[in-house]
């Protein structure tokens, strides 16, 4: 039973526009959320995180929004660049010993 879900396996966006990647979770005990970016044949790299006490966290072109009542988080990339093309994973943690990952969304940013 998957506790973290990314229902869109792929997303295609034009360069310069906004990319919105979505993630849903089921466990109300999750209190820390992360986004990772992964290129083929490489390990994921940490992108941005948010604690459950916040509803928004920004880092440059990347913003993560958390809606606890809906158990939903999203990653916004503005403006999108071709180098952002990768697979994006969201992850959630009920405490810092365990992390649950979604199945990933493959983002393609077209020049």
């Amino acid at each position: 039973d998957q506790q973290v879900k990314q229902n869109s396996p792929s997303l295609s966006v034009q360069e310069g526009r906004i990319s919105i990647l979505n993630c849903d979770y089921t466990n109300s005990m999750f209190d820390y959320f992360l986004w990772y970016k992964k290129y083929p044949a490489e390990g994921p790299t940490f992108l941005i995180s948010i604690s459950s006490i916040k509803d928004k966290n920004e880092d440059g072109r990347f913003t993560v929004f958390l809606n606890k009542s809906a158990k939903h988080l999203s990653l916004h990339i503005v403006p999108s660049q071709p180098g952002d093309s990768a697979v994006y994973f969201c992850a959630a943690s009920p405490f810092f010993n365990k992390f649950y990952f979604g199945s990933g969304t493959k983002l393609n940013v077209k020049p």
Partner: protein, 114 residues
Amino acid sequence: SQTIHQWPATLVQPVGSPLSLECTVEGTSNPNLYWYRQAAGRGLQLLFYSVGIGQISSEVPQNLSASRPQDRQFILSSKKLLLSDSGFYLCAWTGGLAGINEQFFGPGTRLTVL
């Protein structure tokens, strides 16, 4: 700075053969360590995690095992590989007592079981 190493980078093994994948972390003490598997077209599945030497928590019952003989060393093993063990294996760490909450991943091992 902290770094994480995994080897080998790629491995091709016959069904029924043993497996040993190694992961080491540098530049930190008392890390939490993790093994994940990414099967083709799927997300990251947590296999094992460890909060200290000799402490292993198993998330998925299967023919794999893990060991942590030293603080910064994490080993994934199997006595007899199955075809379904093919995948991309990732080791990761968090800061544990150092309070670093994000996970940092190694470069991964591509395992193909024939």
